[in-house]
Amino acid sequence: MGQEQNTARQATAILRITLGVILIVTWFKNLQDGIYTADGIVGLFNYLFNDNGGGPAFYRAIINGTILQVPGLFAVFQLVGELLMGLGLLVGLLTPLAAIGAALFFFNLFLAYLGGSEWIWTYVLLTVSALVVALAQSGRAWGLDSLLLQRLGEPPRGPIW
């Protein structure tokens, strides 16, 4: 099993880098399209809720009661959060944290697009990929987490690298 476990970490590292690239490419496109503004966030959810899915009723209620009450603040959170997750995954820094954040983000997208015309399995694939990257601590192969591990040893408070 040892050889397979090494191969698995290297294979999940490729998955991690791909997720990082996807997040950063999408971040740039969203930035150009003005998604990370109050109007952009409201417009996105209007599109989702009226024309393309919008997810189950409880999800709409949560979004209406939280994000859409402070879209400007959420836009900044999203702008910074998506970029940090993308960079973290790309370079393999604090990978479990970045990947768990990404998994929550992708699961949110899964709920948002549920019931629409998009191929919903895309968001299943993304969520599962991010979870596996987190559980495999894949920044320890071809990532900065391997340097943290060499210098600091195992993290003292949970697997954050």
């Binding site: 476990q5 015309s117 191929w119 299943v124 559980l135 495999a136 591990l149």
Partner: protein, 150 residues
């Protein structure tokens, strides 16, 4: 220091992607390979011709696949069924993963320019099958594990 990755998360991903393939069969069920509503296999093949990213591929679908639709529909249906069952149960996983890799690449090439499609989906799908192939993912929580122990 833990330098090796656990294999069980990959086993869970394998089963989920097996379900993905089985779930995708519902819109290409024989004998007519059409769902009760929405697009069926024939519609998707026609989209691949109309929005071909690679002219040669579009020509192949138009000249070879569509005139022999029933033959290719059965081939696609049975291959996806085999891949789905293989990945779900972890039996003959490397073979299932290889077939799944071929199917994923075919989908990615065929649907690259079809409006509304996101090419990264198929890149991710192909990558996962490559991962199952190199890790022998059926050996953990799969039937391949039973046969290798016996």
């Amino acid at each position: 220091m833990n330098v090796r990755a656990p294999l069980w998360p990959i086993a869970i991903a394998r089963a989920i992607i097996g379900v993905l393939w089985l779930f995708s069969l519902r819109w290409k069920l024989p004998p007519d390979f059409m769902p009760a509503e929405g697009r069926g296999l024939m519609d998707w093949l026609q989209l691949e011709v109309t929005h071909a990213a690679f002219p040669l591929y579009g020509l192949f679908v138009e000249q070879i696949v569509l005139p022999n639709f029933t033959l290719f529909a059965w081939l696609i249906f049975l291959t996806e069924l085999a891949v789905g069952l293989s990945l779900l149960t972890g039996a003959f996983t490397r073979l299932g993963a290889l077939l799944g890799l071929g199917l994923s690449l075919n989908l990615g090439i065929g649907l690259l320019e079809v409006p509304g499609e996101w090419p990264w989906s198929y890149a991710m799908l192909a990558m996962w099958h490559g991962l199952f192939l190199v890790t022998g993912a059926g050996r953990v929580w799969g039937l391949d594990g039973l046969t290798s122990r016996n």
